[in-house]
């Protein structure tokens, strides 16, 4: 299994969601989400219907990747926080546990200072959550995720049917 592999159980999702919900509430943010470095959205909370979350996740990951490149040029391991300030909306982006991206979107109801403070607290909780998930995966490497049987059942015909529906 490569270092990027991560299997999240329902309870992990609930835990991550809970941390994000609290962060959103305490920081006055409109949307909070976790994205993997490949551009995939993992969990999101808030007014997610109002935004194109798929595009948001992909562009955030691109943004982080570009910034990682800049960091390397300067001899830094990473720039762990990015901030985009608009007239009404702002985006605070930070790296958690070196593998996931925490995105907080906030407007006038909040302030950068408050977001920073709450992100630091939530970031520590997320780090702990991911450390425990990783530890569990090392303990039970081929877990009972239900993944293996499901995909083993997929036939060539199932794949052929895609695109035709």
């Amino acid at each position: 299994m490569s270092p990027a592999d991560l299997v999240l159980y329902e309870e992990d999702f609930r835990r991550l969601q809970q941390i994000l919900r609290r962060l959103r509430q305490e920081s006055g943010a409109s949307v909070v989400l976790l994205v993997d470095k490949g551009g995939q959205r993992i969990v999101s909370v808030g007014d997610v219907e109002a935004l194109d979350m798929t595009a948001l996740a992909s562009l955030t990951a691109g943004n982080v990747a570009a910034t990682d490149g800049l960091a390397r040029i300067l001899g830094e391991r990473e720039f762990s926080v990015l901030l985009h300030e608009g007239e009404k909306e702002n985006i605070h982006v930070s790296i958690v546990a070196r593998r996931v991206i925490l995105v907080v979107i906030f407007g006038d109801r909040s302030s950068l200072g408050l977001v920073r403070l709450r992100v630091r607290q939530a970031g520590a909780e997320l780090e702990r959550a991911f450390a425990e998930i990783t530890e569990r995966m090392e303990r039970e490497p081929v877990l009972h995720s239900g993944f293996e049987p499901l995909l083993a059942e997929i036939t060539d015909e199932d794949i052929d049917r895609l695109f035709t529906e």
């Binding site: 995939q40 992909s58 562009l59 995720s145 059942e153």
Partner: protein, 207 residues
């Protein structure tokens, strides 16, 4: 880095279109975007220079249907083809599940194709992948041009591991969906082979 969400019953895969500058990667995505019903596609995002050369990437999410009750979503990316954008290419390969190499069929671009394949191999390795193992499809694009090399010869020169090879003219759309189907098939079969997915799985079973 495929993402399988057992609760929402969704599979997400990342496919990257790679190839030399002006070979037609963006054209592939534009055609797919034009010809897919709006209910099954997201926005096509192009991060391009003012003269419409890809600066960072194009991105198009497509819903290709249900696989055993799992909605299957493909996240399609292109890389900037110009040689000096190598850092951007490396970044986009993060978490990739499958690659379409778009070759420019013109004889004058043969060396650029070969160099781009070498570059892909190197960049994949830097991201921890081996080209021999990753789902990979070769598309011979611009078949409509009079300067196009014979497909058999081009294929012989560019094939690296007996990958599916498809002829296409992305400007008119010929071969574009066929290429996507070919890579989607390989990516999904690769997922089936793995004992656990690489990437995030949202599982339903309790630990």
């Amino acid at each position: 880095m495929a993402f399988v969400d057992f609760s929402a019953r969704e599979i997400h895969c990342k496919i990257v279109y790679y190839g030399p500058g002006l070979c037609g990667k963006t054209k592939n995505l534009q055609f797919l975007h034009e010809r897919t019903s709006p209910s099954r596609r997201g926005q096509l995002i192009s991060l391009a220079t003012p003269n419409e050369r890809t600066l960072f990437f194009d991105f198009l999410p497509l819903d290709v249907g249900s696989l055993r009750g799992f909605q299957t979503r493909l996240h399609l990316y292109t890389v900037p083809g110009q040689v000096f954008y190598d850092a951007a290419r490396r970044a986009i390969l993060r978490g990739v599940d499958g690659i379409v190499f778009v070759a420019d069929s013109q004889e004058a671009r043969l060396a650029a194709n070969v160099e781009s394949i070498r570059n892909l191999e190197k960049n994949l390795r830097e991201q921890g992948y081996e080209i021999a193992e990753i789902p990979y499809v070769l598309q011979l694009n611009k078949r409509d041009l009079s300067s196009a090399m014979p497909a058999a010869e081009l294929s012989r020169l560019l094939t690296i591991k007996g990958e599916p090879t498809l002829e296409a003219t992305a400007a008119t759309g010929a071969g574009v969906f066929e290429t996507l189907k070919a890579i989607a098939r390989l990516v999904l079969l690769d997922l089936r082979k793995r004992r656990t997915p690489s990437g995030f799985t949202r599982a339903t079973a309790a630990s």
